[in-house]
Every structure is written in C-alpha cells, then in structure tokens.
Symmetry: D2
Subunit: 305 residues, 4 copies
Amino acid sequence: MREIFPVAPYPYTFGRYHEPIARVKPEETVVLYTEDCFEGKVHSEQDLPSKVAGKYLNPQTGPIYVEGAAPGDTLAVHIHDVTVTRDWAVSAQIPFFGGLTATTMTRTLQDPLPEKVWIYRRQEDGRFAYSDRFSIAPHPFMGTIGTAPDIEALSALTPFTHGGNMDVPDVKAGNTVYLPVNVPGAYFSTGDCHVAQGEGEACGVALEISGKVTLSFSLIKNHPIAWPRIESPQEIMTVGSARPMEDAARIAYTELVLWLEGEYGFEKWDAYQLASQAGKLYVGNMVDTYYSLVAKLSKEYLTAR
Amino acid sequence: MREIFPVAPYPYTFGRYHEPIARVKPEETVVLYTEDCFEGKVHSEQDLPSKVAGKYLNPQTGPIYVEGAAPGDTLAVHIHDVTVTRDWAVSAQIPFFGGLTATTMTRTLQDPLPEKVWIYRRQEDGRFAYSDRFSIAPHPFMGTIGTAPDIEALSALTPFTHGGNMDVPDVKAGNTVYLPVNVPGAYFSTGDCHVAQGEGEACGVALEISGKVTLSFSLIKNHPIAWPRIESPQEIMTVGSARPMEDAARIAYTELVLWLEGEYGFEKWDAYQLASQAGKLYVGNMVDTYYSLVAKLSKEYLTAR
Amino acid sequence: MREIFPVAPYPYTFGRYHEPIARVKPEETVVLYTEDCFEGKVHSEQDLPSKVAGKYLNPQTGPIYVEGAAPGDTLAVHIHDVTVTRDWAVSAQIPFFGGLTATTMTRTLQDPLPEKVWIYRRQEDGRFAYSDRFSIAPHPFMGTIGTAPDIEALSALTPFTHGGNMDVPDVKAGNTVYLPVNVPGAYFSTGDCHVAQGEGEACGVALEISGKVTLSFSLIKNHPIAWPRIESPQEIMTVGSARPMEDAARIAYTELVLWLEGEYGFEKWDAYQLASQAGKLYVGNMVDTYYSLVAKLSKEYLTAR
Amino acid sequence: MREIFPVAPYPYTFGRYHEPIARVKPEETVVLYTEDCFEGKVHSEQDLPSKVAGKYLNPQTGPIYVEGAAPGDTLAVHIHDVTVTRDWAVSAQIPFFGGLTATTMTRTLQDPLPEKVWIYRRQEDGRFAYSDRFSIAPHPFMGTIGTAPDIEALSALTPFTHGGNMDVPDVKAGNTVYLPVNVPGAYFSTGDCHVAQGEGEACGVALEISGKVTLSFSLIKNHPIAWPRIESPQEIMTVGSARPMEDAARIAYTELVLWLEGEYGFEKWDAYQLASQAGKLYVGNMVDTYYSLVAKLSKEYLTAR
C-alpha cells in the first residue's frame, strides 16, 4: 500500500496554491501520515505553545491530486482506518483561544486564562491518562479533512464548505466523508489527528497526536454538493460551519432536508418534518473560526418507506 | 396518589403572579396532567393552528407551591414517569416560526413557508406513524418544566435560568431536573409533553400530545444554582438557554465546569480539560426565544478519581 | 402642570402586574420625575454598586394608565423636555456586565474586570467632567421607556417589542416615541435618565442621573405596530432589540421598509432599495439583555416623491 | 501623476498569490482606476446579475507592491480623491444575498426574494436618481480596500483584519485608512467604488459604479495593528469585521480603547469609560461574509486632555 508522508514546509491552508505532494487514482487505497497540530513540538507541561510552537498550527498532509476529479464532482473519502502513531497525546489551554474564554474574535478587555499543557499517556488498557486524575477512552479521528476552495486559500484552522478544520468526531474509520470538488484534482488534505475529543472541543485543543489514516477515494461525477456530508453504516450526516452557531445548525439541517428530498424521495415538507422529529444535532466544535454542527438521521428512516 | 389537573384559564407564563393550583410537600409523589401545546385544538390536517389555536401556546399545569421552598434553595424534580394520554400526536409548520425559516426575531422580507399539520397515530408496535410515510419511536418527555423567575413573568415559550420551554429530551422518566428557587414555594409548572422530538426541534413543533407526569420534589436548602441541571443514572447535564447559540453552549459548559469544581473536587482547569475531552453537547431546541443546549458528562469520570 | 413622582416600592419590570400610579388623559402634558438607575445610592468612587446598590436596577416611574388606550392602538409619546435634576452623574464598571467583558449571558472562565465608579460633575459650561481628565457634552435622554407587554412582566433591564431599556439617545426632547399598546391603559413607564451616552453604551453604564421628563400622549386607535418607532423633526426611525445583534438590525430595517410601504406609498422593493442607499443604522446598546439598533431615514426622502 | 489600471484577469481575492501589477514608492501619489462590482456587465433593468454577471464579484485593482513595506509595519493609505467615472450607477436585489433575506450562510427553506436591478442616473444637481421615484446624494467611497493576509487568499467579498470588503462609507476622500502589512510589499488592492450607500448596505448592493481613486501611501515601520483604522480630520475610527455582529462591535470598541491607551496616554479603564460615553458605533455592512462595524471618537477628546 502506498504511504504518503507530509512534506515540509507543510501547507497551513486549504487551497490551490500549493503543489500536490502526490497523485492518487480513484479506488486506490493509500496511507497518509499526519503530524500533530503543533508539529510535535509540545512534549511536556513545560512546553508552552506560545514559546515552542510555530507561527501556524495544523500542518496538513497534502494536497493530494485525485486523478479525474473535476469541479462539480463530489469526492467520497472512504476512511478505512485511523491509527495513532505514538503513545502520548497533548492538550493545552492557549491564551485567547477556546470556548470558555474571550478570543481574538470575541474580544474583551479581560486577562486571558493561564496557558497550560496537559500530557496524556496511553495506559495498558488503551485509554489515555492525564497523570492519575482521569483517563479518556480512545476514539481516533481526523480533525481536518478537506479539498481546495475554488479561489480562496483558507487557513487550516477554518472549517467551511470545503471541509477543513471541522473537528467532528464522526470523521473516523468506517465512515465516508463527501466533499465538494472545486478545482481540478480536488487537492485533498488531511491532518490534525485527535485520539479523543469531546463534543464542542470546549478548550479548543483535543488529545492531539500524530496519526496515520488509511483511505481511498471515489468520485461522484457531476454531482455537486454545497457542504460536507458523512455517512456511517447507521446514519447519514451533514456538517454546517458558520457563525453565529445557529447559522451552522440551519445549514446542517437544511442540507439534511435537501438530501432527503433530492436523493431519498421525500417530499420537502415531509423531509423537514422527519428531521424535526428524528434528527440528531451535536456540536463538533465551538472554538474554531467557524463553529461546526452535525445533523444526523438514522438510516432506518431511509429504508422504512 | 394525588392527581393534579390543569386549571383554566391556564397560565401561559412562568412567574409569581398566578395563584398556585396546589400545594405539595417535599417527597410527596404526585401525578400532573398536562394539555398539549395547542390545548388539544388541532385534531386534523385541516385544523391550521392560525385558525383554530388560541392566542397563547404551551398552557402550563401549575403553579405548584412546594412547601418549604425558599429563594436560594434548589428544587430537585424527580421524574418517575411520563405517560401520554392519547393515541395520536400532532406536529405543524407554523408561518414565521421554526428553525429553517425567517421568524419574528430573525426577520426577512420573504414569504413564509406554507402552514401545514401532521397527525401521527400510535401503531400496534407503539411507534407514532404519519400516514404510511414514516413512524417515530416514542420517547416521551416534558417540553416545559420550570419555576417562577424572581420578578419577571416569562412566556411559556421561553427557556431561561428558571427552566421553562427548554424542549430538552432528557427531561424524561428516570431523570432528576434541578431548578433554582427564586420565590417562596418555587411556583413549579410543567407542560408541553412531547412523545418524540428530534434534537433541535427543527420545525419548532414536536409530536405534541397530552400527558401525565409522575414526580416528586426534594429541596436542597441554601444551595443556589444559576441554571437548570439534569441528572440521569449515567450522566450529569447542564442546560444553557441563550442567543446566539454559542452563548447557550458557553453557559452549558461553564456550568458543567463549575459543577465539577464545586461538587466533585476537580481543580478548575482540570474540569475544563475533562469537559473538553469527554463532554457531549447537543442542541435541545434551535427554535424557541432562546436556544437550549445540553452539555453532559458520563458519571464514569466522577467515580474514576 | 401635573407632576408625577415615582412611588416606592418602585417597579423593576414592565408589565400589567403593578397598580398604576396615575391616570393621564391623551393630550394632557405631565411631568414625570425619575430616579437614576441605582436609585441614587452610588455617590462617590468608593460606593461600589455591588456593595451599595439594591438587588434590582432601573426603577421605573409608572405604570401610567393612559385613558382610552386599548390593545391594538399605538401610543405616541411626545417628549417635550428632558431635564436633569442634579449637577452630577455617575458611571461604573460592573463585574460581568458590559460590552467588552464576559457577562452572565456570554460566559467565560475569566476573571471579571475591576469594579469601578466614575463621578462626573457639571461644569460652568454645562459639560459633565470626570475630574480633570475629560468632559462630556450633555444630551439628556430616557434610557427606559415602554408599555406593558401582554402577559409577560419583563425586567426593566430588557428592551423588546414594548420598548423598555433600549438605551437609544434619540429618545430625547423634541422627538415622538411610538409604542404598541398591549393592555388596556397601556401601562406606560419611563426612567433611567442619561445625561450623556455613547452609541452602544460600551461599558453598560451611561452618565446616570435623576431627571424630569415633560411629555404628553396621543393615541392612534386601531393601528398596531410591532416594534417601537421614533420620529424627530428630520427623521423617521425604527428600533429593533434582539440577539444576536444582526437580528436587531434585521428587525430595525424590516420595520423601516414596512413603514415606508405601509404609510408612505412606496412599493416594497423600492422601499428596501431606498433604505439600502439612504438609511442610517447605529447601535443604541450592545450591553443589555437584547441589543438595540436604530435604523433611520431622512424625511427628505418622504417628501421628495 | 501615474495612473494604474486594473489588469484582467482581475484578482477576486486579497492574498499573496497574485503578481503585483505595479510597484509604488511611499509618498508617491497615484491614480487607480476601478471596475464596478459586476465588471460593468449590468447595464439595464433587464440585465439580471444571475444571467450576465461573471462567477466572481468585486474585481480588484491590484495588488500594488509598496516599496519597503514589511510584515509588522502599518500601511497608511491617504485617500486624496474618489471620483466616479460614469454618469450612472447600478444596484440590485440578488437571490439569497442581502440583509433582509435568508442567505447561503443564514439558510432557510423559503423562496428567495425576486431578482431585480435598479439603474440610477446622474441628474444635473449631481444626485443619482432612480427613475422619478427617488434620488440619492453622492458620497463616493471605496467598498474594498486592503492588503494581503499572511498565508490566506480571502475572497474580495470578505472583510477581515486585512481590510477587504468592509463597505464602510468613511473610506473616502480626505481620510486615511491604516492597514496591517502582512507580506513584503503589502500587496495593496482596492475596488468596488460606491457613489452612495446607506449604513448597513441593507440589500447588499450599493450604488455600484466605476471610479478612480487618488491616493498615496506612508509606512509606519515596526508598528503592527490588529485591525483597520481610519482617521478623518475630525475623528479616529476602528473597524471590526466578524459574525455575529456583536463580535464586530466588540472588536471595534476594543481596538478603540487600546488605541486610546497605546497612543493617546489614556489609562485603560478611562479609555473604556470615554468610549462608552462619547463613542459612535455604526454598521458599515450587515450583508457581507463578516459584518463590519465602525467605532469612532471625536478628536476633541484627544486634545482636551
């Protein structure tokens, strides 16, 4: 199986302006290695990100040129496996970043929260423990996954229509992520592996770790989508990323309704009604430049008709 | 067991200005009957709410004067059972109300969505079916539950610090809801039973139904809480209700962090860290005057220390 | 001229639940005296509001029962004069309140800003000076002005459809404020005089002062309005109060467009177009429970047709 | 005086990825010609933008490489003159774009507003008239003005820390706009001339027109600013661009407070207090990908100390 490693200087944007580091054919299974969000520079509780981390966060592995991908297609990314490649993870409290603090976007005149680092170590039972205080069960996923926007180059800290830094735990092994193709070759990138993260990623930093992800691509030709979609064996999901957060919720549920109408034969108002009574809606992140919300519906409603 | 029925003219607010309809002692188990949000006036797809419903929605059963409750106490409401009292439920699409439409608060110059009613009938398997198109598994809960605010009278359509119209599916049998006591006797009310509802309640109207709820109260004396909390056998939960939605998320997680710090012995930043990695965050409603978000944490993290 | 004084215990809500303190006929001119937001309890820089102020802020002078006012009418409040009744004003920085700090609604885990009081003294030139550091030209207006909501009792800190705590500097002498009548007699109240305030009222506390306001009422029978309107000799204005702030902007401009369409003969899309090219839109407050935005249009556009 | 014309294919982003079309020295006065937002393709009420306009809007004149500009500098753009270069202007109502409609970010299931074009013609008195219905006094300014972000390429429809599509009427002749320099040479661009626009730009399209702007640059070396600032002969101003709108207000006033503290000798809380009592806060746009708010303070407060 072909292995693809990130190439320094790493891209810190999603866009068409970086040269592809690999070309992959549809249906070819490849393994991508990813750096953690700090490029592995934060090793201990003494390594404050403001001192040791670089200027940019979330180095990407990519862009990958997907053969045959053309604007107007949808890129289906089948995630076969997500494995972490080390036995420790790092989280942190970063000044003016996170969900329960003023930030560079939600400005106040208050002092920041203290900068702090947490190091988690893998235990024998596989859980990641922070000293003897608590431990978290692993559920690895990719924090960033996306294609290039059309003409913009968007920071790898931003989730938007192209995917990007959604921080959605359902971007995990066994699931398929659907992304819009905006440029020839799609220019796919991924990174920012999390071995665990709560919904909302409240402090803004998950259990950050290096990883390897095994995936393959399919193309759905001439079938544009407006926002990312995810499919698990049990559910269909849509992701909206926006501010304020209700706009992300509106996008997620509107896309779910239109998906039910467009591909599953529901009349529009019945689709809205069904989503209202059977949909789930959780917060992927409440900390990034846009908030990401995930709407989902069990597939039982798709086959019950 | 004492049964308490709603008394017309029903209260459509949470506040101290209505006379209590009953006095209940702590630990006494009572059964409250509740009208549906339309007072049962919408029976068929021809009964458009704009034609047949009254001026106000969400009639409350209450206020209940809880003996001994004083400002600064917390009222623990133990929900032993929620049973629906009829075999059909109603949902609707109401002009300029709901999550995927302009509303009276999010104004635009567009035309409204069409007004429409859905009638669901209970099937033999217990699910509630809309014609032959889809059916929803029952998971009954109370859409409104709350105490009186201090000096305000807030619409029964509003969720806020006192509880109210949170539309949170975890307000269900087996769980305990904690509410602040702001006035002597607490002035507890509940209503708006839903036999099912998706997260977010996207169209603004769940499977509305009349119900009966069996509950008892406990008082935690001199122990104020700022926002409602919920406890299930497996989880602790906090509810924040605000606009924009990120403010509801901030409230919910801040309250969870402070709860972990105040009552479970966590250092504050560890509590924030734990909530970031193990918390869940879902949308109760994205349609009411304030949006309600629920943060939750598994009790395994409370006992693991 | 009849003088009406505030009556203790003062109302701290807008609602139908307080007994009127006076009955006034349409076209009768009356003088209302108002307490400052702190009931005059903050006199010096040592008087921290958390220590000396009462539990509630913004005591109201009212309710005034306006003879003949009925639900569905509009109450026109003609403000003939606003005069301050003392030679000093007070402002303050209050923990977790204001525009550039986390608040009880926009929660974070940060420490509050320091609590502080500023005392301003009237100089010979009429300006209000804070020590020798800066002085503000007086432009007195009423921070709160409103009628009773239908069934709710809303805090005097809240602006909404009934008016209330809008903190809009155009509520001043020479202007007319139009308010919806929701209950028989309208139950008009006013208070919270500001001798000066910047747009947005960034720290949440203006130059607070006791005042007297001379006004008369007219009734526009059977002519409901959805939100407050203001008319100056030169401009028509609409006020929207909501969160997030864009919802307040949407309300203000939608109401302006509908006003142009409904009463000035504009076709709807032309009205939207005109508001887009000639409207003004400023922030009254960015600190209250809802934010208040004011849209305005010069009357030159009304007569030019 | 050197004249600089836009070069096709025009840039539709602010970023470092386009080759500069000119190099300009500090203090050199140059004239830049700009296309209208539709590249002049909408001439009549029959020219619906969805039919005749290109895929991208807001073509930029630039990037201009400013000699000597380095990251960490501030670029002062002195606007000597803004002149329109034709005698008609165009506005439009575009489906799912604007302030009083659902949009691609604030999604609903409603139908769009009708697509419509307004053509305004210059009258003898200089005003721009829409048929015989109304006319608008000219006050020309540049809708877009900015430098390149560091590594992102941001759409010319986006306002952010680099300036961009702020749609702020104070970007006009006689004023100086201060912009951060993020890349060597600054990569300055401008465009999207408006001969008039209301505050908020409610429908999303101003009186769009081709223009020429006469300007010169100064560099303030090693003096970074976080967000754009504007100086007029009478006022200092800060611009914040964000969603929700209150975040834009917070940025604008925080930047004003920090400016007063950093460069005018005010103690921080006095600066906050002064901004609260004497500041102005208006909405530049309520329609772009971020909303732009302008905080301003009269210079009288700067010299009075």
